[in-house]
């Protein structure tokens, strides 16, 4: 099996005499047996730590959750600066959680949650911060300040939580470089290893925003935009 790895500006081919293994096992084999200088990140090997996120044949994958195939082409994530080989600097991606204020604003005690409440944001809380969605998101090409898919999913997680009693300030905070900047292209959903749809979460945040009187700024030129009932108000 031959795979090629993008290392800085070079594409290096490696030949492995192994079958039915994960990409991470292949990378570990290369690192310890063929080339000690290959740099990549990994951790849990079981798809929960998010360390080994990278692009395979131009699609974001977790190396530990992908069975490597002959001819695969591996490269680092996009939208972040490459530190070395397959390692990117994720600080800017992580920072979006801070900018989006993705946390419970006011601590609440004694709120009783039932099964429906639990299910409302169960999927969103499965996020492992692997940044696959951040890499796949085309908005960053035009707006580096975009809060981005996983941070907005996290905001939805807290907004939808009955324990959050200050929903409005969370919504206020995601109006600029946030919910309206998303193009709803769905690329984030397609690459999420945890089956989370940030696009759907962003749509839910838009609906909540409308409830608080916000509207899509791109409709501003209609002179007043749309009313709360969705009908144009001229």
């Amino acid at each position: 099996m031959k795979i090629s790895i993008k290392r800085e500006d070079n594409i290096i081919k490696y030949e492995l005499d192994l079958k039915d293994i994960t990409l991470l096992e292949a990378l570990n084999y290369i690192k310890s047996n063929l080339d000690n200088t290959l740099a990549f990140s990994s951790g849990c090997r079981s798809s929960v730590c998010g360390s080994c996120s990278m692009r395979v044949n131009e699609r974001e994958e977790l190396a530990c959750n992908y069975k490597v195939q002959d001819g695969d082409s591996i490269e680092p994530l996009k939208n972040m600066s490459v530190i070395r080989d397959l390692v990117v600097d994720m600080d800017s991606a992580y920072k979006t959680n801070f900018k989006a204020k993705a946390w419970l604003n006011k601590l609440t005690q004694g709120v009783s949650l039932n099964h429906d409440d639990e299910k409302r944001n169960e999927v969103q809380s499965d996020c492992i911060l692997c940044s696959a969605c951040y890499s796949a998101c085309p908005v960053y090409a035009v707006n580096g300040e975009f809060l981005g898919p996983f941070a907005l999913t996290r905001v939805w997680k807290y907004v939808s939580d009955k324990r959050e009693s200050d929903e409005k300030s969370k919504i206020d905070n995601v109006q600029s470089n946030g919910v309206w900047d998303c193009t709803l292209c769905n690329e984030c959903t397609l690459v999420c290893p945890q089956d989370i749809s940030s696009k759907a979460d962003i749509e839910k945040l838009r609906a909540k925003s409308a409830g608080y009187g916000y509207m899509d700024p791109s409709f501003g030129s209609f002179g007043g935009g749309f009313g709360f009932d969705g009908s144009p108000s001229f």
């Binding site: 000690n36 849990c44 039932n114």
Partner: protein
């Protein structure tokens, strides 16, 4: 460069981040360093649950939790520490609930609980089988809300002291730039995780669990205790050592041998179940976990991760097929000795989480007590370190900076491949310092560890670049692992009788 803070925390898993929150709340300035990123620690891999005697599902009591923990510890736990942890468990779960952890719920809107091995009642609060992940991420979110400074990809080399031997900081490798950095602080908290990766591929753990903090603490003169107590988890996937959570047995999964026969009580403590499996394997049997009878709906609802991992790594779908398993190293009870204020034997140095030994697990940890420990003692470490730091911050002292560990490593030649040696040590430890041990095996293991240490100067790195040199990081980890290996075997040799996870014949 020189950076100062009141409290410096090394490690950003559940224990480190909990410590950070409480230290900051006490009014101390706090800085957290992590060799990865804050949500990538071992905590995210904890699946089964977190113990607290809430009695939400059936009758339970703090006393029963204490009794179960002490029994499992085989007399090696400190009753006062266990009493404290179990009594604080209810507050700890309430705190996590208040910051937004999405625990699974019962039909009557209480936090749901399941039974894990060695527990007399359903006591483990859980969030499907992603309990650790969801707790860790919520604590991380809380740290962001408090604007706690977390610096990523900083690798601890040495703990630094002043002339009078008081801990005052740490020497760190910035993995990205390759530069050495000095961080000064009035108190240092180690929350750097356990050492199960000394067993290499025979471990469920993240590749990062290499005992760096324990080795650095030991080099600085801190006392380590109970290092021989290594817990083997009964059910890891046979070929990859990926963990299949105890919740699979908690939900009613069986263990079967090749003849399709059950051979042990699946919900006995982990050391007992691991030995039972080990005995069967020695008789030539293969061992399987059977959860088929639980049904697809329950498996998808309660054990989704298990199903995904079994398919990926063993090509079996546990809804219809048996899962091949074996016990592998999972949790290390031993570590840096701390008192009931989480203080180590060195002034200025605190420890919490798996690297610390609060004597709550003794010779065998109960499932569900590790997530509990990191929250309860993470808080204690944070509060006590902050108090100490604020009391001593105006004392005048100078850091002692001298060449040591890192400078030695840089001098090593690259003639022997340490990756091959790392794998060899892991396999040798699994065989000789494993589930069942003999004095002869232990002595030969110690000899071998010492020989490897003596030839470390020939095992240096082949990658000479400065930026993000993982070859170098892995070599430093290997050196740390050998130091830890020596401690594990030496302690095992001293303990001549069987006790919990240390089983000697």
């Amino acid at each position: 460069m020189n950076y100062k803070s009141d409290v410096l925390i090394i490690g950003a898993g559940g224990a480190g981040l909990t410590a950070a929150l409480h230290a900051k709340e006490s009014g101390a300035s706090v800085r957290v360093l992590t060799k990865e990123y804050p949500t990538r620690s071992q905590t995210c891999m904890a699946q089964g649950g977190m113990n607290a005697a809430l009695a939400n599902v059936s009758e339970d009591s703090v006393e029963a939790h204490i009794a179960n923990t002490l029994k499992s510890a085989h007399g090696e736990a400190d009753e006062e520490a266990v009493r404290f942890m179990c009594s604080e468990a209810i507050n700890a779960v309430e705190w996590l609930d208040s910051i937004g952890v999405c625990f699974s719920r019962t039909a009557d809107s209480k936090i749901a609980q399941r039974t894990l091995g060695g527990a007399s009642a359903p006591r483990a609060c859980y969030a499907q089988d992603y309990t650790g992940l969801k707790i860790l991420h919520t604590i991380y979110d809380r740290c962001l809300s408090q604007d706690i400074e977390i610096l990523n990809e900083k690798y601890l080399l040495d703990i630094l002291k002043d002339e009078s031997g008081v801990v005052k900081g740490a020497k760190v490798l910035d993995i990205r730039s390759g530069d050495i950095e000095i961080y000064e602080a009035s108190a240092v908290i180690l929350a750097s995780g356990g050492y199960s990766r000394i067993y290499d591929k025979n471990s469920t753990n993240s590749t990062a669990s290499t005992g760096d903090g324990i080795a650095a603490a030991s080099r600085a003169g801190a006392k380590l205790i109970d290092m021989e107590f290594v817990q083997f988890h009964p059910t890891a996937l046979k070929n990859s050592s990926i963990l299949i959570s105890e919740s699979a047995r908690g939900e009613g999964g069986y263990l079967l041998n090749s003849k399709g026969k059950r051979f042990t009580n699946e919900l006995a403590p982990r050391d007992v179940v691991s030995r039972a499996i080990n005995d069967e394997i020695n008789k030539g049997e293969e061992i399987f976990l059977d959860i088929r009878h639980l049904g697809e709906e329950l498996i998808n609802e309660g054990l989704p991760q298990e199903r995904k991992l079994a398919k990926l790594y063993e090509n079996v779908d546990p809804v219809h097929e048996l899962i091949p398993v074996r016990p592998v190293a999972h949790y290390t009870m031993g570590g840096i000795e701390v008192d009931n204020k989480s203080k180590t034997s060195l002034d200025g140095l605190y420890a919490c989480g798996e690297c610390a030994n609060h004597r709550v697990h003794g010779a065998n940890r109960l499932g569900g007590n590790s997530l509990l420990e990191i929250v309860v003692f993470g808080k204690e470490a944070g509060l006590n370190a902050a108090k100490y730091a604020l009391e001593t911050k105006n004392a005048q002292s100078e850091l002692v900076l001298e060449d040591g560990f890192f400078e030695e490593i840089k001098e090593c030649k690259n003639e022997i491949d340490f990756y091959a040696k790392r794998e060899h040590v892991g396999n040798m430890f699994y065989k000789d310092v494993g589930i069942v041990r003999t004095q002869e095996q232990l002595k030969s293991a110690l000899l071998e560890v010492k020989e490897l240490q003596a030839s470390l100067n020939l095992m240096g790195v082949s990658d000479k670049s400065k930026v993000y040199n993982t070859n170098l990081v892995e070599f430093i980890e290997f050196k740390n692992m050998l130091e830890v290996c020596e401690q594990v075997v030496s302690s095992a040799i001293k303990r001549e009788v069987s006790c919990g996870a240390h089983y000697i014949v």
